[in-house]
């Protein structure tokens, strides 16, 4: 790109013009001073009548000193303005009305140098609007120029630099007014808003992700409601069962949110699912096993499964009598010995009730047992056995750890 320096092409305003006037004035005054100090020859009478009355040399010297001081002030002011522009990280450019670049701030020149080779920014663009890589942004730039030419302010946001890691700019184009008040040149100020732009993109992505999760959760609640109604014996039973399941899902969400919806420890999932069903009796529920991180889908499924088992235990099983106990234990069994751990590790979880009333196997297959028997097998490729020996209900499940740890909700 073509960059003119400040002296070759003054940026704006009447400063340099005024300075030129003052320089000329100083030259004129110096000439007059030289004239005044020169010994006077006798001039013809006719000439004397048109000449101004002689001014004393001291007066000329005072006027010269004033002019030189003024000049020094202007130089200082100009240097300050230059430093001001150089201090700005913004990409400031002055354009002719036709969009030709006439001057670019130091910050802008640094940006141009920073932009990777091969992008349009690195090429020699004399037309400012042509420097934007995207055709749509070049159109936006042209519109902003047109607005500024019409005396208004044009504004747009556009990327530059390599497409894989662009820098984003908030660009304002405004008219520089001439002495007659009409736009004489155009000022463009591009501010780097890359960070803010990335944050906005991140936020949009999060919103999308959240919408997706909410829809999936609603679909899950819909399925729980429909399944509850299908297998309910009465409306009251359906209401109770549905509320219990909804609460179990809510508790599972709490556990998941504590893990930033990425993973949750199995012990926390078990504790969360059992908490509503455990009364004040000490050690009614014993949970033991190594730390296991589970993905969101597994957390929701296992929470619902444990809720169904616990509800059943509270109604008919070990949790329905003061002496009853529930033991939940899990282990990880690696198909290949560590450290080969090749993703074929299996989680084995055991639910065993004891000390409750003698178990009578259920006569019909309710939501809980269907969920347990189908959901885990189907969702995670595991296997599960639900048994009702007289001494207490038992469930044994085994599923590939990798499937249980998948990150999708």
């Amino acid at each position: 790109m073509v960059v003119h320096d400040t002296d070759a092409c003054p940026p704006a305003g009447d400063g340099p013009a005024r300075q030129r006037e003052i320089r000329e004035e100083i030259l004129r005054l110096r000439a007059l001073l030289r004239e005044a100090r020169r010994p006077r020859r006798t001039a013809p009478a006719a000439e004397l009548s048109v000449l101004p009355p002689p001014v004393p040399a001291s007066d000329w010297e005072t006027r010269l000193a004033t002019a030189e001081e003024l000049n020094a002030q202007l130089r200082a002011s100009e240097a300050f303005t230059a430093r001001l522009l150089a201090a700005s990280r913004d990409d400031i450019q002055v354009l002719a009305l036709d969009g030709t670049i006439q001057w670019r701030s130091e910050g802008g020149r640094a940006n141009a140098a920073e932009a990777a080779a091969g992008t349009r920014w690195a090429e020699a663009c004399t037309l400012w609007a042509e420097a934007w890589p995207e055709p749509a942004d070049r159109r936006a730039a042209d519109l902003a120029l047109a607005a500024a030419r019409a005396g208004r302010t044009g504004r747009f946001r556009a990327p530059s630099g390599p497409p894989e890691s662009p820098r984003w700019w908030d660009v304002v184009v405004s008219p520089i007014q001439g002495a007659d008040g009409a736009p004489e040149r155009l000022l463009t100020v591009a501010r780097d808003v890359t960070e803010a732009h990335r944050a906005e993109e991140q936020q949009a992505l999060l919103m999308q992700e959240m919408a997706h999760r909410v829809k999936n959760t609603l679909a899950l609640v819909q399925a729980v409601a429909a399944q509850t109604l299908r297998s309910a014996t009465s409306l009251e039973a359906a209401t109770d069962a549905f509320n219990g399941r909804l609460m179990a899902l809510a508790d599972a969400h709490d556990v998941l949110i504590r893990g930033a919806w990425a993973e949750a420890d199995l012990a926390a999932v078990v504790a969360g699912a059992m908490a509503p069903h455990i009364d004040a009796v000490q050690d009614r529920c014993a949970a033991a096993g190594p730390p296991v991180a589970l993905g969101p889908r597994a957390v929701l499924t296992l929470s619902l499964m444990l809720h169904e088992l616990a509800t059943n235990a509270a109604k008919y099983g070990a949790l329905s009598s003061p002496a009853g106990r529930v033991a939940i234990a899990w282990t990880i069994r690696d198909a290949a010995p560590p450290p080969a751990g090749d993703g074929r590790a299996m989680l084995r979880l055991h639910w065993r009730e004891s000390g409750g009333p003698p178990v009578v196997p259920p006569t019909r297959c309710g939501f809980g047992s269907r969920l347990i028997e189908r959901s885990l097998v189907h969702s995670f490729g595991g296997r599960v056995a639900l048994r009702f020996p007289p001494e207490g209900a038992e469930m044994e499940l085994e599923a590939p750890l990798a499937a249980l740890q998948d990150g999708a909700a």
Partner: protein, 151 residues
Amino acid sequence: MTSDPDRPPQELLHGETRQGEDLRREETDAPPVVLLVEDDGLLLMEAADTLAEAGFTVLEAPHADQALAVLESRADVEVLMTDVDMPLGSMNGFALARLVSRRWPRIPVLVVSGMGSPGPHDMPPGARFIPKPYAPSALVRTLHATVRRAA
């Protein structure tokens, strides 16, 4: 799903499916076979129950690879209904839908998902999309219409 608490839900569902004139004709035919591809066991259970009650024969697959195995092993599948996100398989529901419409062009495809609407190149031509969650009756109507059109 049901707004009348005095009637058992199953009865209501059957009542709903009988409302459609076209569905009555379907009842005299052999039940249409639908292949249901859904990774969530609970959602699959509910969709399978809904479709079975509406007169479909339901085949189930938890991911795309198993769905393809089912399609390769039997010739009676009349319609494919697939979810999109299925982490266990080697492809998602959109890729499965496109593959099925190329390899088995006579099998119509219905894609269901909670992820908004599909992108411009996600769906194969002629496939239908239903956002999750959906009204069970709307799903049944759409599937019946899809099967009828393909016949």
